[in-house]
């Protein structure tokens, strides 16, 4: 029992980080049909900027806020300088642009920051909490709570504000949205800013237990993308469910089957799901836009 609980704690903590990355993918994809492979770099930028601001003597909360703002700025610049000029290009071209952007950001981070691994101090100490014989770090609660808070805030923003409705409209049908007076270019920019902010928060929350370095983005983008596909590309609920599920699959695979094949176990399950449900668990059927 305590064993299973330990696996669940591990899976949920790792899964929550995947979920936030998947959520970032989903936001941009909904608004612009772009799969933004620089999403992992947003996570890296959030963590690394905070670490370096803390080293400069700033308290963690101030450093975290500045890091999120800096990452939003990078997200907006990415949209303005790389995505916007290529408007109208095919999906593959846009994906390749984002891959290029991710390589660029990784290279820039090597120069601006460094190539070492870094760690933030845990927000509420390192003493593990024991629950029914299993242990969990206080930072895991921060990650799980932070993920939940972001999901609720995002939901409220999308469904309860006018700008949020404009995002839904843009996601639904860009031409129609433009006809009713929505500036879809700005909405896409907003999506980049939002997904950058979510990525940065994920990077800051995770840095105390997962460490951060210039190259963590690649693996996170891969796992986050898999989670988004599992949940259904473009579905926010699916992104969160997919992320948590992927984390749990890895933890249970490592715990009950074989740690050597834990990634394989996770990906076999994803393949099986996509085979039966090509749009993912929560995805809608693909509609061709005219």
């Amino acid at each position: 029992m305590s064993e299973l609980l330990q696996f669940l704690f591990s899976g949920l903590t790792v899964g929550a980080i995947y979920a936030l990355v998947a959520l970032g993918f989903t936001l941009v994809y909904r608004a612009s049909d772009v799969v933004n492979f620089a999403q992992g770099e947003f996570v890296m930028l959030g963590g690394m900027t905070t670490v370096f601001l803390v080293q400069l003597g700033l308290p963690i909360p101030a450093a975290a806020v500045l890091a999120v703002l800096a990452t939003i700025a990078v997200g907006l610049l990415l949209h303005r300088l790389a995505i916007e000029p290529a408007r109208g290009a095919g999906a593959v071209t846009l994906v390749i642009i984002t891959i290029g952007a991710s390589i660029f950001l990784r290279g820039a981070a090597q120069v601006v920051f460094d190539k070492q691994l870094h760690q933030l101090p845990a927000f509420s100490g390192d003493a593990p909490v024991t629950v029914l014989g299993a242990t969990i770090l206080p930072q895991s609660f921060w990650i799980l709570g932070g993920t939940a808070a972001l999901v609720v805030l995002l939901w409220a923003f999308i469904n309860r504000t006018l700008v949020g409705k404009a995002v839904i409209a843009t996601a639904g049908n860009r031409l129609a949205a433009r006809l009713v007076g929505i500036d879809t270019g700005r909405i896409v920019g907003l999506s980049f800013a939002l997904s950058a902010a979510i990525g940065a928060v994920a990077g800051i929350l995770a840095a105390p237990i997962t460490f951060t370095s210039y190259d963590i983005g690649t693996m996170l983008a891969l796992k986050g993308f898999a989670a988004a596909m599992l949940g259904g590309m473009g579905s926010p609920v699916g992104a969160v469910a997919g992320g948590l599920l992927l984390g749990l699959l890895e933890a249970l695979g490592a715990g009950y089957l074989s740690s050597t094949y834990k990634d394989a176990v996770a990906f076999v399950v994803i393949l099986a799901v996509l085979f039966a449900m090509p749009n993912g668990l929560f995805g809608e059927a693909v509609r061709e836009r005219v």
Binding site: S10, G11, D126, T135, F211, L252, G255, S259, K262
Partner: protein, 384 residues
């Protein structure tokens, strides 16, 4: 009249020039030594101190009068961690720079790619990489400075045996270092009467290994060994403490850097690892044969570069100093003679240990090269 005078002047000038050139050549024509290192790229944390060490010591040797009365000239190329680039640079060293020996090859991958080039040219190659395949089977022209992961396993198993443990839980990274060490440890465990009762792995970028450790905790293991370097061991160590596992934890020589202690924090205390004596240079007893060499190197490096010394730079020190001694003993800069002299190195005290090369052993270190360390209060200490 005018012409004959000017011709005579010209002749005299030419003669003087020729004389001065030939004089310079016999007195101070530099001995060229090649180095292909991964100064940038993923292995930069290895290549950077290696380059700094080589440059520092070539300068010091030259200031002290050079070797055989001639200065050393170091030709360094940066392969960025890319094996095919390393091979191209190796060819350039042989064909254009005409080096008499090579000290370099930061990783096992770049070293293996360069071996054929130096073998064909008959030029001695002192590698700074760890993989056992560099010297096993022995290649007449290839030597290596660092100890191997098999020796790290043996050192740990000696310690386990001394503490009366026979059942070991193994958790290793799936990267090159972890996979190789896992293989070596599994191979030599029976020699020490040790059974590996749990054998878990994790990916190089994994951020949580509590499921694997939970399984090990549920096994019959009396101690746990983590074979990996970089981020993995820090994650393992922290998860280990999070789970409150109270079995002794062993790490590999791959974590022998301050960064590990910084990343793992409090959790690192109590972990044991085999490491080169350089890390505890100032804690060694005064009678230790290596103490003087270690303290001298550490002081020289830290004064010159204002950064902490690392064992990787130490391997470069061993390489250049063994080469210097070999050229002196050979009394010649002919590559074949240098090779023979390197192979005849006996009792050379370096940073990695005391080297005794033989035609069958082109590394020349034994287990005494490793010290068993324990992390205490966030610092290295010799294990009791």
């Amino acid at each position: 009249m005018m012409t004959s005078l000017s011709r005579r002047c010209l002749l005299a000038a030419t003669a003087a020039l020729t004389l001065s050139f030939s004089g310079a050549a016999s007195a101070a024509e530099p001995i060229r030594i090649g180095a292909v290192l991964s100064v940038t790229g993923p292995a930069a944390f290895l290549g950077d101190p290696e380059q700094k060490t080589l440059e520092l010591y070539v300068k010091r040797i030259n200031e002290a009068g050079g070797v055989l009365g001639r200065p050393l000239q170091l030709v360094v190329y940066d392969d960025g961690g890319d094996a095919s680039k390393a091979k191209t640079f190796a060819q350039r060293l042989v064909e254009e720079d005409e080096v008499v020996a090579m000290v370099g090859g930061t990783s096992t991958g770049t070293t293996m790619a360069m071996i054929p080039v130096f073998e064909d040219a008959g030029i001695p190659f002192i590698s700074l990489a760890g993989g056992i395949e560099i010297v096993e089977p022995v290649n007449p022209h290839v030597f290596k400075m660092p100890h191997t992961d098999r020796m790290a396993c043996q050192k740990i198993f000696e310690d386990l045996k001394a503490r009366g443990f026979t059942k070991l839980g193994l958790i290793s990274g799936t990267g090159g270092f972890g996979a190789s060490m896992r293989k070596q440890c599994t191979a030599v465990a029976p020699d020490y009467g040790i059974t590996i009762v749990a054998d878990e792995t994790y990916g190089p970028k994994d951020t949580d290994v509590t499921p694997q450790l939970t399984k090990i905790r549920g096994s019959a293991a009396q101690a746990v060994l983590n074979a990996d370097f970089g981020q993995g061991p820090a994650v393992v160590t922290r998860n280990y403490r999070q789970l409150g596992i109270d079995l002794p934890l062993y790490q590999s020589h791959g974590v022998a850097s301050k960064q590990f202690i910084e990343l793992a924090g409090e959790a690192a205390n109590g972990a044991r690892l085999p490491a080169a004596a350089l890390l505890v240079a100032d804690k060694l007893p005064d009678g230790d044969p290596q103490k003087k060499v270690l303290v001298d190197y550490k002081t020289a490096f830290e004064n010159a570069f204002k950064q902490p010394v690392s064992t990787f730079g130490g391997h470069a020190y061993d390489g250049i100093m063994i080469l210097k001694s070999a050229i002196e003993r050979a009394g010649s800069t002919e590559p074949g003679a240098i090779r023979d002299a390197i192979e005849a190195t006996k009792g050379f005290v370096g940073t990695a240990g005391v080297f005794n090369m033989t035609p069958e052993d082109h590394m020349g270190l034994d287990l005494s090269a490793f010290r068993m360390l324990e992390i205490k209060n966030g610092d290295w200490a010799l294990a009791g």
